[in-house]
């Protein structure tokens, strides 16, 4: 198998966009890589960590994106090329540091890879991180192909060094998490001469601010000049197109396909921009001057659209009057990710062209034959997931307590407790650690008549990322809530990356595991620990903690993620349903196991009208045996 480190220059390999970014960094001689995992960005640093030894680089999972940005900046300050990667929400976390780093400037090349998730396929929002580059006066590159993901990353390090400031590379899920064949280039080794040398007392600070601010703007003007001749911007189409499509990122592919599908190549030109902030004004202006109508195709915010209009506003004499189509005109949807169909539709409506598609008869027949069976497949907790068990007990404890208690949620697999497999227990979801912050607030509303018990849930990785300050806040301010830490010993949602509680680093080295229980105890709160598979014991502990209205208390529900367990050990039980004991619908349990407990390993056999275990899906955790009132689910020890 070809690794991203050992692939030979000149060969073609099938790389994920994130692997291409990682390879580009290696080709640039990156020496330092850091990130907090987050879909769709995780494989940038994940891949670099895998090859850290053979690539002779340092890679780490940082506790959060701000720290990741800081450690990477330190490497840059010391003369080592560094890359930091994060999802769009992570850029928010890192932005406090970023908005001071931009004034400070950098030394060795520093690249921030921001991977956005249009349609929020694995996110709580679909924010566009590009305005951060504009806001921070940093150069912005957007790869439109897999090859560009690699080549732009490599070039971004040079650009960063040319202006002594960080450079932002922005991708979307359909580049980061898609795969394409790319040609590999030469690698240069990382610098081995790291040293921190300040030439003035304020060298590595934003001071004096107005002076550094002025410098920062001058750097950006230099970037604009460099972008004028960038090979990442190109035009395909007729000399004077009737309509100019201006696009970037994965939308470049969709635009090409739309023009082809509508056979509109002689009428439409495509201006594909790879350097989207600052805009190469002269280059863009030249193309705008050759048309009268412009369609902007981009994800997710009308960022390019707004910047183009701003540019035209300042150069109307050169470009002439233009009609813009895009998100503002309603031709491109204002939210969600784009695809070739949506772009073809938009282009067709501007040009008044119809796409010749599949016959309406086929579409109708397909709808008739499949419609009643293709209802949505809801996502939920895996078979054997400890979260299902934790939420089962939490649901029961809140019900037994009877005071209208509720749960504030957080970011991780357990966010799915918004849905049926977590019994709709989670009621709020915002940012990392926010569930605990909200609980702090709810827990201090007693003065205004608030009497409901509050439970905040967060996972182990989220606890380290952003929950600790909120927990401290609650303790300090006498808030009244229970923090339930769902410790499954993994950053499960993003691909099982280790974190400070695991005892392993990103590169597999042993490191002291931070003990969540000890840490909470040291803060002076009551801490209990439970095994979520012990439903009765967990419910009892929860109930006791709910009733203990004495400030903040913590329950750690500790059980390894089912998917991790499946890789490490054999199943604990062979589970089956005793057909003699399961009385089906005559039992009176109203199908508690399949209808309410909802583990995908439990199915209803419509022929025998009894519950059944699907041996392909069951993970053998044995928890369902405890919920069957007839004792019909049998655990046989393996």
């Amino acid at each position: 198998m070809v690794s991203i480190a050992t692939g030979k220059p000149g060969t073609r390999e099938l790389f994920m966009g994130n692997e291409a970014i990682a390879r580009g960094a290696l080709e640039a001689g990156v020496g330092f890589a850091a990130a907090y995992p987050g879909t769709p960005s995780s494989e940038v640093i994940g891949t670099l960590a895998e090859v850290a030894k053979e690539g002779d680089i340092y890679a780490e999972w940082s506790v959060n994106e701000k720290v990741a940005m800081e450690v990477a900046a330190a490497a840059s300050f010391a003369g080592v090329r560094a890359i930091v990667a994060m999802k769009q929400n992570g850029v928010n976390v890192a932005s406090d540091f970023l908005m001071n780093l931009n004034l400070t400037g950098t030394r060795a090349g520093l690249v921030l890879a921001a991977c956005d998730d249009p349609s929020a396929l694995s996110s709580t929002n679909e924010q566009d991180s590009r305005p951060f580059a504009k806001w921070a006066d940093l150069p912005l590159l957007e790869p439109g192909t897999f090859q560009e993901a690699k080549d732009m990353t490599r070039w971004a390090f040079e650009l960063s060094e040319e202006i002594n400031n960080a450079c932002m590379l922005r991708t979307v899920t359909r580049i980061s998490h898609a795969r394409g064949d790319i040609e590999l280039g030469e690698r240069i080794p990382p610098s081995k001469e790291a040293r921190f040398t300040a030439t003035s007392p304020v060298d590595f600070t934003p001071y004096p601010v107005p002076f550094k601010h002025h410098q920062m703007i001058a750097k950006l003007e230099k970037v604009r000049e460099l972008f004028e001749s960038s090979p990442f911007n190109r035009y395909v189409g007729p000399e004077r197109p009737e309509l100019l499509v201006v696009t970037c990122g994965a939308c470049w592919f969709y635009s090409l396909e739309a023009v082809k599908a509508l056979h509109a190549g002689d009428r439409v030109g495509i201006l594909k921009l790879g350097t989207t902030w600052p805009l190469p004004e002269k280059f863009v202006q030249e193309h705008l001057a050759r048309t009268e109508r412009v369609l902007v195709v981009e994800e997710v915010a009308p960022f390019l659209e707004g910047n183009l209009k701003e540019l035209v506003g300042g150069h109307l004499a050169d470009t002439g009057p233009l009609t813009f189509y895009g998100k503002r005109s309603g031709h491109i949807p204002d939210s969600g990710e784009l695809n070739p169909d949506l772009v073809t539709k938009a282009l067709g409506s501007v040009l008044d062209l119809e796409l010749e598609g599949v016959s309406p008869e086929y579409v109708q027949k397909a709808q008739q034959l499949t419609g009643s069976h293709t209802h949505m497949r809801a996502i939920g907790f895996c078979a054997g997931c400890p979260h299902r068990a934790s939420f089962w007990s939490l649901k029961n404890a809140l019900k037994l307590d009877g005071r209208g208690g509720f749960v504030t949620g957080d970011i991780g697999c357990y966010t799915m407790a918004l849905g049926p497999t977590g019994y709709f227990q989670v009621k709020t979801v915002q940012a990392m650690g926010s569930g605990v912050g909200l609980a702090c607030g709810f827990g201090n509303l007693a003065r205004t008549g608030f009497e409901q018990p509050v439970v905040s849930v967060c996972g182990d990785s989220t606890f380290f990322h952003a929950a600790i300050p909120a927990l401290l806040n609650g303790i300090y301010n006498h808030s009244n809530f229970t923090l339930l830490i769902l410790d499954n010993s993994a950053t499960a949602m993003t691909g099982f990356q280790p974190h400070p509680g695991i005892g392993k680093t990103a590169t597999g080295e042993t490191t002291p595991a931070v003990d969540i229980e000890g840490l909470c105890r040291a803060m002076g709160v009551r801490v209990e620990v439970t095994d979520p598979f012990d439903l009765e014991g967990t419910t009892e502990k929860l109930l006791d903690l709910l009733r203990d209205d004495g400030g903040v208390r913590v329950l750690i529900s500790k059980r390894t993620c089912a998917l991790v367990r499946a890789r490490q050990e054999e199943a604990e039980y062979r589970v089956h349903v005793d057909p003699e004991k399961c009385r089906g619908d005559s039992c009176g349990c109203a199908r508690l196991c399949t209808r309410v407990f909802q583990c995908p390993g439990l199915i209803w056999d419509t022929e025998t009208d009894t519950a059944k275990i699907d041996e392909v899906i069951c993970s053998g955790c044995g928890v369902c045996a405890d919920i069957c009132p007839a004792g019909a689910i049998i655990n046989e020890a393996v």
Partner: protein, 206 residues
């Protein structure tokens, strides 16, 4: 046989069935043979029991985008019956070729009794009516006979290669498996792929 260009293939199933592995195996093997390949797939939340799809676009001429337009799949490989139906309705056309595993993974709506799962006959009839050729293969049952349901996807990829719908022969698939499987898992995966090839051979002959 002249190959359609681009050739659009969708591999579909439920999170955890091994979609990504299949698309990578085929993709890597085809890139090695000089094709341009693009793969778009769903990840993350969709892994947790949700519907998943990998879009493969294979071309001799250029690199295509990671998403196949609606109604333009040439081949659909389904690891799960209802998911195959779902993808077929959105991406199919009268000339599409469909190869589907027969074993259901019930949706929550079916498990809770809110919806019914179609019977094997209905699935087969639907797939046949909406395609130029449809094979339903008992891949999970074969995998269970071999001792591990996890081999289902490899049996299915064997059947896909055996159908000759891809510009990839059995040797290419074997080489890809040798390239990507850990040595202790290689033999059983090669056997699974051959079982899939046999299933295809029996159908091509008939």
């Amino acid at each position: 046989m002249t190959q359609k260009d681009p050739l659009n293939v969708i591999v579909t199933g439920v999170g955890g069935q091994g979609n990504v592995l299949i698309s990578q195996l085929i993709g890597k093997a085809l890139v090695k043979q000089g094709h341009h390949v693009t793969i778009g797939e769903t990840y993350g939340a969709s892994q947790r029991g949700g519907a998943v799809m990998s879009h493969l676009r294979i071309s001799r001429q250029e690199q295509y985008g990671p998403l196949i337009p609606e109604g333009q799949a040439d081949v659909i490989l389904g690891l799960e019956p209802v998911e195959t139906m779902r993808v077929l309705a959105q991406y199919g056309h009268p000339e599409v070729i469909v190869i589907a595993n027969s074993r259901p993974v019930y949706t929550m709506a079916v498990t809770t009794g809110a919806a019914e799962y179609p019977g094997t006959q209905e699935v087969t009839r639907t797939l046949e009516e909406l395609s130029s050729a449809a094979w339903v293969i008992n891949a999970t049952e074969i995998a269970l006979e071999m001792g591990a349901s996890i081999l289902t996807n490899i049996i299915m990829v064997g059947a896909l290669v055996g159908s000759r719908a891809l510009p990839l022969g059995p040797e290419g698939l074997e080489a890809a498996l040798r390239d990507s499987m850990p040595s202790d898992k290689l033999e059983v995966n090669l056997t699974a792929a051959r079982r899939g090839l046999e299933e295809a051979r029996a159908r091509v002959a008939s």
